[in-house]
Symmetry: C2
Subunit: 159 residues, 2 copies
């Protein structure tokens, strides 16, 4: 199995990982310093903003932001308490609930994006050529597609 992963690839993986953590951590600090909520909140707000009618079912959100069910409940609690979204009953499935973006949530996402995008640029993408961006895009797109295929495959086998 160590044959599959040559020196260059494992080195690259290490850099990948470190870059992710470093950049993300720095952005989190910038957000906090600006008195804004963490990146996770941004992910939720952004997912809702893209969704039709600015609302999503909780389990869809959980999948979108890679969180467990129980955790999404509590996260939505906090966002609701901050009036960035509100819960709505689902008429078609009376078990279910929607999380719906509020105007405050919309405004908050924009405020966060100012800091967030600045961080992405400053700590990462400013130093990339157009060609490099292209390569990274292609690579991640491919990796994601296959990784997700494998993931669903294995979960299907389990159940």
């Amino acid at each position: 199995m160590s044959d599959r992963l040559d020196e260059a690839r494992s080195r690259m993986w290490r850099l990948f990982r470190t870059t992710y953590v470093t950049v993300t951590e720095q952005i989190e600090k910038d957000l906090e310093q600006a008195g804004l909520p963490p990146l996770l909140w941004y992910s939720v707000l952004w997912a809702l903003e893209r969704a039709p009618d600015h609302e999503m079912r909780l389990h869809e959100l959980a999948e979108e932001v890679f969180l467990s069910r129980s955790n999404i409940t509590r996260l939505i609690d906090r966002l609701e308490a901050a009036v960035l979204l509100c819960r709505k009953r689902c008429p078609l499935d009376r078990r279910g609930a929607y999380a719906a973006l509020t105007n405050e949530g919309l405004a908050m996402r924009q405020k966060m994006w100012a800091v967030y995008s600045e961080g992405i640029a400053q700590y990462f993408t400013d130093h990339l050529s157009q060609d490099e961006v292209q390569v990274l895009d292609a690579v991640f797109d491919r990796a994601l597609t296959t990784a997700q295929k494998l993931t669903h495959q294995s979960t299907a086998q389990e159940g």
Copy 2:
């Protein structure tokens, strides 16, 4: 500020982030399924294995694995309880402590690497050409260097 980050770059960032989370999460699951500890433990063991005499000061480790001081204390507690490392007094600085890798820790890292490397390959690097690996390596290396420079700069200003 949105000028600095064009469509291609922000899309690429989103893919970068999602790829990292997806691949990492899948590897964590594989480790757990194999009855092995999480990736964080691996990072510690691997850092120690590379270090001279297989031992490092706690604060060095904290920096290496991006954890707060208090957290590294508790993490080392757990690893010590699992006999994968042991604390050693530092003769030069009597405040300080070393974490020193044990034989069990060495063996554990190797066992984990079998699963870990398999995951890296399967979910990510198998689908990359040599050229792509080269580009990613260069890009991350550059990003890391500048991000770390900026980070230390800002913390220096603060203090």
